[in-house]
């Protein structure tokens, strides 16, 4: 059994993986077709800025014009969550992509060559790991000035060390294997050995962690936005939408759920997005790791 038949066979055994794939697929569709689902109003210069229906601070409940209602400052919740999906993908994929490149490169250099190179690189990662991740990310965002780019940069800076660690650990165990010696004995260069023999044997745990982390990164970005360190006000971003609802979570004196839509709707989007990527991580493991399957 090869290729897609095999992948399908493995997936059928774990329905949760399929759920993960479906969730992520739906989010991807929402992101791609955002202009159709939530069309940008005429004359609106930046589609990522949520259109507002006034300046009243009190949220409006769902109605015919605003299906999900409006949040503090009359920002349209539907528009915000739909276009926020794009922001989430942008943050998740570019941060994890950059982290993978940095982590795999530094991790494999450290793990494969060992010695003083390993020592230097690993002490640098130790320095980064010594700071609490979210606090360091906040400090970097504040220092560089809050914006989407600095959030991503901050998240890259705080998350690459664990990847370098992970890759290095796997490579340390693989490089002692006989087939690495055999490859060296067959005249392969170090670069070729790393690319062809070491990485294919050690990359899967990293890819699985990466797909799990896409959700976690979006969550961290949301946390930064919630603290007001993220995107400019009115930018379509789930974290900011929840921060808008900060004052309305408790509801009114008579009705604790009066403004439920301001927090539940963006919250459900974040929740499903993270859940989807977590389940997809498991699916990746089922598909990718040949040692786990193909028995």
């Amino acid at each position: 059994m090869t290729g897609f038949a095999f992948i399908w066979y493995n997936l059928k055994k774990s329905p949760l993986s399929i759920v993960g794939i479906v969730i992520v697929f739906i989010f991807a569709m929402v992101a791609i077709f955002a202009p159709l689902i939530a069309p940008t109003p005429e004359g609106h210069y930046n589609p990522y800025m949520i259109p507002r229906a006034g300046y009243s601070p009190t949220p409006e409940p769902p109605n015919a014009e605003h299906i999900f209602g409006t949040t503090q400052g009359q920002y349209d919740i539907l528009y915000g969550v739909i276009w926020g999906t794009r922001t989430a993908f942008q943050i998740g994929i570019s941060v994890i992509g950059a982290v993978l490149i940095i982590g795999i490169t530094l991790g494999s250099i450290a793990g494969y060559f060992g010695g003083i190179i390993d020592e230097i690189l690993m002490r640098i990662t130790d320095i980064f790991l010594a700071f609490p991740a979210l606090i360091l990310a906040m400090a970097i965002t504040i220092a560089l000035g809050p914006s989407l780019t600095t959030i991503m940069l901050a998240l890259i800076i705080v998350s690459w060390p664990s990847y370098a660690r992970l890759v290095r650990g796997d490579i340390l165990s693989i490089r002692e294997e006989d087939f690495i010696q055999a490859a060296r004995g067959a005249g392969s260069s170090n670069f070729r050995i790393i690319i062809r023999h070491v990485l294919p044997n050690s990359i899967y745990p990293v890819l699985i962690v990466a797909s799990l982390d896409i959700g976690a990164v979006v969550l961290s970005a949301a946390a930064l936005s919630f603290l007001g360190l993220g995107v400019p006000e009115g930018y379509a971003d789930w974290g900011q939408m929840i921060s808008f609802s900060r004052n309305w979570i408790v509801g009114t004196a008579n009705n604790a759920f009066a403004y439920w839509y301001t927090v539940v709707i963006p919250g459900v989007f974040i929740f499903l997005f993270v859940l989807g990527w977590n389940l997809l991580g498991d699916a990746f493991r089922d598909i990718l790791d040949p040692r786990l399957s193909r028995r």
Binding site: G115, E177, D178, F179, Q181, A182, A183, R184, G185, A186, G187, S188, S189, R196, H197, P200, N201, P290, R291, R294
Partner: protein
Amino acid sequence: MAELVRIRDLAVKFHTYEGVVEALDGVNLTINKGETLGLVGETGSGKTVTGLAILRLIMPPGRIEQGSILFAMDDDGYVDLLKLTEADMRSIRGSQIAMIFQEPGAALNPVFSIGEQLTEGILLHRRQEVVNLAIETIDKLLKNTSDLKGHLLRPLRLFKRSLYKSIREKPNRLLPRLIGRIPGVRIVLNGLQEEAENIAVSMLREVEIPDANRIMKQFPHELSGGMKQRVVIAMALSCCSKLLIADEPTTSLDVTIQVQIIELLKKLKKEFQSSLLYITHNLGVAAELCDRVAVMYAGNICEVASVLDIFKNPLHPYTKALMLAVPKPGEEPHAIGGFVPDALSLPSGCRFHPRCQQAMDVCKQTNPQLIEIASGHLIACHLFKGEQGASSR
């Protein structure tokens, strides 16, 4: 017989935390063209280190401290492998000298199919040949452009041919290398892949693997130990190596498979006219397979002789003791008294003297040199100093 490898005064030391281990101390060894040299000795006597040193695969904390390893190149000249740059050494590994490792399962990469692993080496070391074959195949296809398909594919084939020709002229040209890296576009290089696969299949047939086409698509864990060892041998031979270093290739296999592998090695060695350095602690296997045998003890060569001399007329006390220690049915084996010396604190003088029945005072002071006492019979022992032959090699 012409010499293929001449190892002179080779010393390898491992700088460990506990101290310096002299794994090899002044090893002298010659491997002739087309012969099988057995390297026997106890565990830790330096057999494997000798094999690895020839390929310069000693990893830190090990280091080759001194000596020379002269290797006969095609143009009858000798190069010192220890003086080559790492890049030159890489081109010798695999193409001139190949190694078969002890554990066949561990020597194969678990995530690639047998075919992928075999073709990798072939594409790396026999590129020229593969390219020529691919051009020939395309030429043949271009001549038979009678049907519609032939006409439709003609431009693609012409492009492929010109691409392969440019690879033939300059193997390191950027364009083909770039193309090889891009998925999808890479497919134009499939002509090379196909030819390499053909060679790989014929190599698998050579090592007597049935159903080679199916095995090509299988992964290492789907094969039995004997099959894997055959695949490893095929990989080693696929680049027409002049020297094959086999490091206990049959140790992890059961006896019936051992016999098959030994017979196979005998046959292939003749066919490919390569030399074989066979590292083993199994004297029976050495007797069966080798032309000459070198006995090692604690990083020194004790005795080198033809296989007949070693077994019929062993001279060195250690070799004698080793022969007696071979278990025979119905007899108690004669163990060699004492222990293998601790590698960190080797005895002074001859390293065997604490266990030697015939040790003399001089044995405690100086380590004997390897001298030739009869034609082709070399020995390092003070007992034979007086009988030194005409030439000391």
